[in-house]
Symmetry: C2
Subunit: 207 residues, 2 copies
DNA sequence: TGTACATCAGTGAACGCGCGTTCACTGATGTAC
DNA sequence: TGTACATCAGTGAACGCGCGTTCACTGATGTAC
């Protein structure tokens, strides 16, 4: 499936440099953060000259943007699949939340890049994806105010916000290692369990 | 109260450089992240030569470490005060959570620096403070396993974890601007409300 | 099937930049008498 | 109260480093005939 990132030493062309750069950038972001992604380091890893990336990306920023958009697409796919396995709308929303936590654990590189403020700022499509996700939650648990950039807090229910904060917080805690090493399966179980705790409260809190 | 960061142009000594550097570093971390804190930039802002910081800190890292430890101390103080205004242990824990969210909004610079993995790694006292906070929560809502570095997840209750994730998530969402501009008061109200949603569920979930 | 040529994806040397840090120095301040 | 001196907290010039990026180049590949 995944071929070597490093180019064959006897060949002139790498053959796969664009994808290899994105993959390596994702790996660095996963282990050392987005700021630590640097082109010279990546090219060194793959045995290619430091000018090579510029055949594929206008600059460092364009590389990160491509990673972010790929990550968003991957997540949307997985979240959609997870939701489609449920019929009850609340369970669908929950499944999306669990998929989110799972994605953070399985793909911390994508997660970090696609949540980076500087990168988000540059991509209307990423911002839009975030709003769509929020709206999906609001539609189920609270008042629906489609696609407002600066959400009117007063119009969102405590339940919606609590669900979002819980999921986001769990994802970040896992990613930042605050809970030690946790497998993707355990993370998903955890997300299921914690959203369950919330569920008890939601029944009382939602209108 | 807070005197100018910039040195008086006619004087040789700044008089307050150590504190001014820490304050400026905190401000940069708040607006552009920890990685964006750079000594030359700080010295430029305060009209001082780029070698000056080394009279007060061994290196850049030591400056950030000092900021982190000051931040932790400030937070502990505020959390303690907030808790001491409540008598019920659960409400004390809740007050600490609200203080945490409030601190993230009021002092995002401190918050960012003291949560930075590279910095935490270097300070036993920061790690210890984190464990104490976690234990304080566990003691109230779940099983108490004092001071384990890698917490045995199975021994923590879903309620404890949900509370921690919710608080952490809300703090980060506010800090990252995911909820727009929110005042410290609104943030505290929000934290109160959301932990309330959780409270309903906790009653069912705690043993 | 073989050759000519355009295009593509690399090379390697060089650039300017901003950074953290060091160094020998000097002006300002505090203390002893 | 005034002077001598140690110490403190700055200066400014310089360093090496690693980075992103550019440039003229060249080897490899694909296509037309």
């Amino acid at each position: 499936m995944k071929r070597s990132l490093r180019k064959k030493p006897d060949s002139y062309h790498h053959g796969n440099l664009r994808a290899a750069l994105m993959e390596a950038a994702t790996a660095v972001a996963a282990s050392h953060g987005v700021e630590a992604v640097n082109l010279r380091d990546l090219t060194r890893r793959m045995g290619v000259s430091s000018a090579a990336p510029f055949r594929h990306f206008a600059d460092r920023n364009a590389l990160l943007l491509a990673v972010a958009e790929e990550g968003v697409a991957k997540f949307q796919l997985r979240a959609g699949e997870a939701a489609s396995r449920e019929s009850d709308p609340v369970e669908q929303a929950r499944a999306r939340g669990i998929a989110y936590v799972r994605f953070a654990v399985e793909e911390p590189g994508y997660f970090r890049v696609m949540h980076h403020p500087e990168i988000i700022k540059q991509s209307a499509s990423i911002v839009a994806a975030g709003l769509r996700n929020r709206d999906a939650l609001d539609r189920v648990l609270g008042v629906h105010q489609p696609g407002q950039a600066s959400p009117d807090l007063a119009r969102r229910t405590a339940g919606t916000l609590a669900a979002q904060a819980l999921t986001y917080g769990l994802a970040r805690m896992l990613m930042d290692g605050l809970l030690g090493d946790v497998s993707a399966e355990d993370a998903a179980r955890l997300a299921h369990e914690l959203t369950g705790v919330l569920g008890e409260g939601l029944r009382g809190a939602t209108p």
